[in-house]
Amino acid sequence: MGTSSMSNAFSDRNATLASQPPYLYPSYVSSQKRAPTKPLIALPESLSNLKAPVFGHDSLRPSDGDMTKQHSGEPLGERIIVNGQVVDEAGHPVRGALIEIWQANAAGRYKHKNDNHEAPLDPNFTGCGRVITDNEGRYRFVSIKPGAYPWRNHENAWRPAHIHFSLFGAGILSRLVTQMYFPGDPLLVFDPIFKSIQDTAARARLIATFDWAATKPEFAIGFKFDVVLRGDKATPMETNHP
């Protein structure tokens, strides 16, 4: 803590933290020309505790939390309810956290001008949601299960079904963009983005679990996806506190 010596001024704490992916992960081909190559510089602790913006519930429309209700008809696909709790590293709930969500439709197609692969768009599905956590840090949204998405990273490459999450916590260091995967997906073991997280337990935490309690009879399958956000301290690693 405190002033940094030159030796740790050039350390990359996150890379040594196997629960986070490295910048360069060669089998994820597009990391090769985009990952920084020069040493990262230690950020003075006093300069890294910027507070995150606060987003009020008035910034959301009711349909932001139900991606099946944004058009005149129902989207095709398996209806799902995703819910979970957002906590910090101390286990305290992160209240009022904005979560931005985006995903492909049931056919694996994104409603985006650069996704031209041969799968149909669904006129009743945009795949964009926003929710804010409640006083216990909990969130919930309704959607449909996304399909697998083909890409050109390697021969016959398919992304496992996933939902993108963007979260704001207490401060700038808590900012997180991640992806939620589905249990039992056979594509996970081939996916370099998922596998870029070296620690297998940390990797497994990106896979939602089936949630019987959240499942609604004759309506939707429930999944639970809990998220842990970093606090606003610049020293995330316990190895910094021997």
Binding site: S4, A9, S11, N14, S19, Q20, P21, P22, Y23, Y25, Y28, S30, S31, Q32, K33, R34, A35, P36, K38, L40, I41, A42, L43, P44, S46, L47, L50, K51, A52, D88, E89, A90, G91, E100, I101, W102, Q103, H112, N114, D115, G127, C128, H164, S166, I172, R175, L176, V177, T178, Q179, I193, F194, S196, A202, L206, V227, V228, A234, P236, E238
Partner: protein, 156 residues
Amino acid sequence: MKLIATGSQTVGPFFSIGLAGLCQPRGMQTAAGSITIQGTLFDGDQKPIPDGVFEFWSTGQFVRTATNPDGSFSAVLRRPSDAHSFEVLIFMRGLLRPVFSRVYFGEASTLNNDECLLQVPEERRATLIAQPEKAADHFLWDVRMQGENETVFFDF
């Protein structure tokens, strides 16, 4: 007991579906007391990156802007009262976690004693300093992910 933070994953190429809602509208005019920081985001082949998203942070201020098909970006920002820099998070396809940079827009003389800049090797400091343009309150800041003039990124 300390929990382990959830792993980061890339925003991928289609982030605009979810993130555009908070992006600053294009064509914002610079008002009194605001500045514009614009530039281009380049990859290791010095090709523009069309699918990047920038977040400029300062006390009480958050501005998000995505790059255009030609890799250019532009952000209109309120000039902070307590700083001559912004913290910048940059996300893109190909980055499994964001990079953290910092952009300075002050006079060179005001930067001499900057605690953060002093940690940066002298020959790399220029990559963090936006250059004033002819138009008042406009600054140019190109971001290079790799190469000889790779932008400085911070560990966080």
